[in-house]
């Protein structure tokens, strides 16, 4: 089975990830997921693709820390985090988060917390490629 936390170039399958998550416990009553996608339009500019750079070893370590903290904080049965790097076309999937718990509320809260924290703590940078040129994205504080 694939690792619960990964950085990879290739696309991922939700069906596969959910199956891996569910395999950890039959007591899982609720699974919340978040998928971040490459939009074809950002702040008034057309975006043809997005290119990601990552400090890979630290990014994976930080994602594992977030997963561990979410498991404890929300009492999850399992969680998975996958982030793609390299060049991603408009409409493609970028990031996947799944949180599974006995009941729905902690799964949904953990999923929201994980994507917010990932954006704050994980050393990954995106560059939007537009017909007018490339631009690294400056996150809103």
């Amino acid at each position: 089975m694939k690792d619960a936390v990964r950085i990879q170039q290739e696309d991922f399958s939700q069906d596969e990830e959910i199956k891996a998550l569910q395999a950890s416990s039959k007591r899982m009553g609720g699974i919340a997921t978040f998928i971040g996608c490459a939009r074809d339009f950002s702040e008034g500019r057309e975006v043809t693709e997005i290119s990601f750079d990552a400090y890979g070893s630290m990014a994976v370590a930080e994602m594992n820390k977030l997963r561990d903290e979410a498991m404890t904080r929300f009492g999850l049965l399992d969680a998975r985090i996958v982030h793609r790097v390299g060049v991603i076309g408009a409409g493609e999937q970028i990031v996947f988060i799944a949180a599974g718990a006995e009941h729905r509320a902690p799964a949904l809260q953990a999923c929201h917390w994980l994507i917010d924290e990932l954006k704050q703590c994980v050393p990954i940078w995106k560059k939007e490629v537009t017909p007018q040129g490339d631009a690294w994205v400056t996150p809103h504080p």
Binding site: G36, F52, D53, A54, Y55, S57, M58, A59, A61, H83, I94, V95, I115, L118, K119, Q120, C121, V122, P123, I124, W125, K126, K127, W136, V137, T138, P139, P141
Partner: protein, 79 residues
């Protein structure tokens, strides 16, 4: 030798994803930062975070060991 890595917008402004800085006894993180900032002021305008050997470091007075891996990073924009 200290290995210094750059990623994303910082790497673009430095014009390299890795540089070497000569180690000396008693070296602290701030020494490396000051040295590189003088060479690449535009890149360091957007540097917000530093990491040493894969861990976030806030204290620039951290003593460095030889062969440490140091990274100066701008705000993250993953996800």
């Amino acid at each position: 030798m200290i290995k210094v890595l750059f990623f994303g917008p910082v790497a673009e402004r430095v014009g390299a994803s890795e540089v070497q800085v000569k180690f000396h006894a008693g070296m602290i993180l701030q020494d490396v930062r000051a040295h590189l900032q003088a060479l690449h002021p535009e890149a360091f305008e957007i540097v917000c975070f530093a990491a040493v050997n894969g861990a976030h470091i806030h204290d620039m007075s951290l003593p460095l060991a030889d062969y440490s891996e140091v990274v100066f990073m701008s705000r993250f924009s993953g996800g």
